[in-house]
Symmetry: C2
Subunit: 259 residues, 2 copies
Amino acid sequence: MDKPETALLALRMRDWVAQAGAHIRHHIHDPLQIQTKSSRTDLVTNLDKQTERNLIAAIRSEYPDAQIMGEEGSGDHVTDLRGLVFFVDPIDGTMNFVKQKYNFAIMIGAYVDGTPQVGVILNVMRQELYWGGPQLGVYKNETPITHGSELTLADGLFGINSAMLAYDRYHSHQLFKTCAGMRIIGSAGIEYIQLLEGRQIAYMSHLAPWDVAAGRVMAETLGMSVTRLDGHPLDMLSSGDVLIATAPTADAIRAIALG
Amino acid sequence: MDKPETALLALRMRDWVAQAGAHIRHHIHDPLQIQTKSSRTDLVTNLDKQTERNLIAAIRSEYPDAQIMGEEGSGDHVTDLRGLVFFVDPIDGTMNFVKQKYNFAIMIGAYVDGTPQVGVILNVMRQELYWGGPQLGVYKNETPITHGSELTLADGLFGINSAMLAYDRYHSHQLFKTCAGMRIIGSAGIEYIQLLEGRQIAYMSHLAPWDVAAGRVMAETLGMSVTRLDGHPLDMLSSGDVLIATAPTADAIRAIALG
C-alpha cells in the first residue's frame, strides 16, 4: 500500500472510530445488556456488539475485499493474513466500560499481508485519538509523538495483567522488584496509550489479535518491541502472552521473564 | 465546629488546594529535583516540598492554633489529635507525578478532636475537586455525590497495593478470585476518587495518616467503611494497612482478608 493510500486509510479509520466513540458517549448511561463470554469476568454488552457491527459495515463499504477479524464475532473467520486485514476491538476494557464508564478504548489495526500499516486507538471518554503507522508517524489527535520513554527498567512504571502479578508468572515478582512500580488498568488500549505517551515502559498480558493489533503498529513505529512473551514473533491469528516494551527495556525484561 | 464554621473551612481548603494545583500544573514540565525517602521507589521532589510549605503557610495564616501533619515534614510533630488538626499530602502519588505527569492528587483532611470534619482531594491534571464532610455532604466540583457503589464484592472492581497482590497478603488472591477485577493506580487520592465515583468497591493498601485522612472524611460521609485491615479502628497518628470499602462489601472483604 503506497503512502497516499495509507494516508486515506488512516483518515477513514479515524473517522470510523471517532463516530463509534461519539455513539458510545451518547449512550453511556443507557441500561446495558451484559453477557459473559469465556469467564465470569469476560463481559460483552449490546453496545460492544452494536459498535462492532457499525464499524464492520463502515469498513465493508470502503474496503469490500478486506478480511475483518472482530472481537465479537461479526467479522470474518480469518485464517490467513493475505491481503488487507482489519482487526477490530469495538470496546477494549469492557469491564471498565461497565463498572467505571471510563478507561476503555476503541481500536482498529490494518495490516497488508501481515505487515502493519495503520493503527488507531481512541480513549473514548477523554476523546483522545492515537493513530499512525510506519509510513505516517504517530499522533495524538493532531500532535506528533516522536518516541517512547527512554527510561530504564529500574526507572520505569510497568503495566501488567493482574493474574500474572498475583501468580508470579514470567518471574513477575522479580520484575516488580526491579522496576519503579506496577500498574493495572484493565484495558490493553489504555495500556498502549501509556506506552505511547512515555508514561510506562512495558505492558505484559494475555492478549488476542484485536487487543494487540492497533497498538502494535504505533508501538513498533516508535521503535518499541512487540513480541510473544516466550521471545517468538507475534502470531496475529491467535491469542497469547505478549510483551510490549520500549527499546531500552525489552531485552532486560525478557531476560528476567524467561530466566 | 458548627456548620457555618465548617462551610468556611471547606471553602478555604478548596481555595488552598486549587491554588496549589494551579501552581503544579504551571510547573509540570520544569526539571525536577528528585530524592528518595524510605526506599528506592518512595520519591519526593522539590515541588512536593514547595507545595507543602505553601499549603502550611496558608493554613497557619487562617488557623494559627491548629496542628498540621504534613507528609514532607514541614508541619508539626503531631502526637495527639486534640483541637483542629490538618493532614496535608501535597502530592499523593509522587511516582505517577514524576513518571506519568498525571494520576496524582493533592489532599487535605481537617479533624477536630479526632473527628472528621472536611476532606478535599484534587485530581490535579484533570482539575476535578472532591470535597465535603458529614455536615456538608460530598461534591465533585459543584455537583453532589449521594452514595458510593451498591455493587457486591463479586460485581465490583477492587483497588489494591501491588505488593499485597503479588505476595498474597490478607488473602488477596482469594479476594482477586472473588471480585470482578483488581486495579493498581499508584495514588491513594485517585483510588479514593474511584470509590467516591462508584467505579470501585474497595481499596486496600499500606497508608500513612496523610494518605487516608481526606478521603476518609468523604468515604465515611457516603456510608463507606474505613478501618485498619485487622478490623480495628483507624489510628490517625500512625501508618498501617487500611481497608476502605463500600457498605455492601466491607464485611465480606474483611471475612476473606482475616479468614
